[in-house]
Symmetry: C2
Subunit: 609 residues, 2 copies
Amino acid sequence: MQHIKRFFIGKPLKSSDEGGQQLSKVKALALLSSDALSSVAYGTEQIVTVLITLSAAAIWYSLPIAAFVLILLTSLILSYRQIIHAYPQGGGAYIVSSENLGTYPGLIAGGSLLVDYMLTVAVSVSAGTEAIISAVPALYGNQVGIAIIIVVLITAMNLRGLRDSASLLMIPVYLFVVVITIMILTGLAKISTGSLAFHATSLVGAAVPGITVGLILRAFSSGSSSLTGVEAISNAVPFFKKPKAKNAAATLAIMGIILGFFFAGVTYLNWYLGITPKLKVTILSQVGAAIFGHGSVMFYILQFSTALILALAANTGFSAFPILAYNLAKDKFMPHMYMDRGDRLGYSNGILTLALGSIVLIFIFNGSTERLIPLYATGVFVPFTLSQTGMIRKWWHKRSKGWIGRSLANFVGALISFSIFIFLLMYHLGDVWPYFIIMPIVLLVFYKIHDHYLKVAAQLRLVKQVKFHDYAGSTVIVLVSNVTQVTVGALNYARSIGDYVIAMHVSMDENPAKEHETESEFKKDFPDIRFVDIHSSYRSVSRPVLRFAKIISKNARERNYTITILVPQFVPKKPWQNILHNQTSLRLRAALASREDIVVATYSYHLKR
Amino acid sequence: MQHIKRFFIGKPLKSSDEGGQQLSKVKALALLSSDALSSVAYGTEQIVTVLITLSAAAIWYSLPIAAFVLILLTSLILSYRQIIHAYPQGGGAYIVSSENLGTYPGLIAGGSLLVDYMLTVAVSVSAGTEAIISAVPALYGNQVGIAIIIVVLITAMNLRGLRDSASLLMIPVYLFVVVITIMILTGLAKISTGSLAFHATSLVGAAVPGITVGLILRAFSSGSSSLTGVEAISNAVPFFKKPKAKNAAATLAIMGIILGFFFAGVTYLNWYLGITPKLKVTILSQVGAAIFGHGSVMFYILQFSTALILALAANTGFSAFPILAYNLAKDKFMPHMYMDRGDRLGYSNGILTLALGSIVLIFIFNGSTERLIPLYATGVFVPFTLSQTGMIRKWWHKRSKGWIGRSLANFVGALISFSIFIFLLMYHLGDVWPYFIIMPIVLLVFYKIHDHYLKVAAQLRLVKQVKFHDYAGSTVIVLVSNVTQVTVGALNYARSIGDYVIAMHVSMDENPAKEHETESEFKKDFPDIRFVDIHSSYRSVSRPVLRFAKIISKNARERNYTITILVPQFVPKKPWQNILHNQTSLRLRAALASREDIVVATYSYHLKR
């Protein structure tokens, strides 16, 4: 087991190695932008798909809609750059909202994102799997299996730690960036030389009968799901090289420029070429085929790198979820175990929870998760709205130089995010409603956990003057199943800690002759130690032991003694042999935890062969 | 949890309640014969399916083949009646073979049956599910789910105990018996009154071109799978009412008569009506339709009771597997836990293992398990051969009155079983080969377990003169994470058992100021107790504790002290809250088991709210 773990995860790192795990801009872009960049693969398509429901002539509206999405992108990025500078220790929506708006809005933001990261992973991996299947149709029917293998691989990479994964992730991300850039530039070049014919379904500004504001808003809110990847970088500021905030803000800007260029380019080429969505062939793939030629090498590279970046978009969730879980755990809204770091300095419990959650989602939706996208977008734009509203309050409280400009930037961001949220409710309620069931449950869980931790802390707090209680002595009860070497060792130990040692045996045999066999054997070998034989009519060891413990406990209280029950346990040489032993001692330990006044001690007897 | 368990399983029974759990003949027949009787649903079909590969005219051969199968049945039953009388304490193939032929043949018999019972459950439940699906086609696509629900229900019945299940099982078994009896008698009556026309594909004795001995043996060995249910009763003798052996032998005879009548009747009616196997419609169902009329009430009752008894055939495995596992565990070939009885006196671990194994098989084969039948038959006839050969040796050793007759009966039984085994190898090797891979693995596991238990027993055996070792005192190390009420309680206890008490804290914080916070807090409150602060560079608590334990251990050896490490643990009020605590103490306990000289004691602090 240990060896397998070492092979996949690598050897443990010291906490002080932390610095070495930090990211350059080039690596950070690879690690944190795959979610945003991969939206190029479906962003234009989602807008056009809505417009085409009216008519092919309506496609020209994708150009102004895309332009508006780009304006949103710019303002979101400006807004998030401010968050990065204001929260250089990492400012996710959870931290920003709870600090500036209060605990409750913070928890809504945090809870939304927590669930959303699971959706990201499930949706991205499923999309990547579909792309793989369209490339290799022989794999059809194994979608769920392939998706789970991808999740497991990404999980392993993340357990290895940030730096190692970034190196691995750079190849596919930059491959995608290069391929799409070549595609757009080639397309524009071919258009300017006239070797790519103009096929647009209608000219820009052409009158389209039946067009409504509702349809345009519907198309717009579909397209806005391309904006969901922006949060990742602002969450991860602490992982950047110094100067952290500056590098993070620069990375965010670079990502915004690339994404904007891609989104505008693909939407323009699509309109120019007059491409309409087809079943089984994506718009990006049609644009690629028109520019590179169907079946050309570049076309296949495009398909392949699209599949890869979609699969890797899941990694954004793996970067962000554990940090968010850590922050929630630190504030006592999630179990403390999310604060533990693994051997490679990653928050392993968060990584594993996310992997498990997304695998469950993949199973439930059987690998086809398209309809989850509006739900997922809702879960993103709610925290976006909250965190930017929080920033406005922050600027207002400080009112330092330039606060009005800053507030304005965040106000625009908040307004856009909130509008998209409203549009999603208006035009996609059929897919969005589960949000209003999931969130109250998540908030209830947060509340229950928080309440528990607070109550525990109150109980445990020491009063001013700590006074010791002096016990008069200690009773030790040694559990004896057979009289063996283990009995001798356990009794030796018991006599070293106890003032009064009792051996206890639970007999279950129906045969009275056999029942007293252990007793007589014991008395022969250890005549000076009291032996108690308890008969169990129900074949349970725990119940009679608890019953006897109650009597002893009363006795010990009167004499001011502590009670220890010593349970011997075998430690076999090979792990599989554990199944051959210790069932009783496990059950006993669980049962005895119900008594506060009894300490259960485990005597480990090591089997030599 | 406890309430749910009580509802499904019932309240615990005393060991001395055993007597009340015993079976009358009527109940035993219901409980132990469903496997045998359900073979009526497919026995004739398997013979005819092989014959029809030559021509429809060959179907008349099913009559002599069925007659021969009936002779086999009679001789197997005679042979098994002898086993029942010779082993009134329960004589499965494992016990009979190992007592008379030696350990190795016994293990082959036991191992075969152990795997076979899992196959029985998987095959029967899948067949029952198919029958349910043909009745309610809307359920198609949920086979695996339905099969698993059936397994879970049967498991729950068996965990409740024998008597309760028998009452529940009586209804479907006797319903099936009544329905088939009515069907055969109605059929014969209609034939004699001439209202059912003779449609046989050929007369008995008609020359069939191309018929070979091979084909007949192939058909015969297919049909012999109907004989596999005979073992169940001889395994279960101890569960019968007194006189146990007599009642069991009588039940076996009754079962044989019913099965013989059914098998002969269905085969004869099938030949007379000239029915050939059709896809999706079983022969039994065609015979029923011809006699009762398609769509009549009786026809549906027939279909329904067939589905039920197929599903319940699984119960035979549930009766036999736990007892076999118990016997193997008693002889140290399987883990001891198979000897533990549950609350309702059933061997719960055996029941649960069988349920789990069969669920895994259902998953692997996706609910379609027909091709497992030859494999399953092989696993039955090998132990049959071994146990009856064992009986011959037994009679030879005793040579009491009538031993020659008895030996002859068992010899015929052994010969038949062995021949069928050979035919299965010759004509169904394509399905039977896994037997020769599974068995060596099972035997290896038996050997490994046995070897381990023997080695353990040798190590633990006490030498003649037991001498105590007197320790000079005890060192107690109390693990402190924060200074709280728990610390006070743990230290109080530690002082009652220890001569030397140390508090130990593992610090992981990078921040040196915070690192020593716990230390100064502790020293303020407990100035007289030594406090050791250990820094962990790898964020692991176990490793530094083990490192420190090593030093203390050397020290303690020199001073002749024992060492106890006291780990505090929280006991929350509600079970779900456990996920919020104790991760560290669990990991520590596991890590510290690696040191024999250290006893780990758990101090349970109960949270009050």
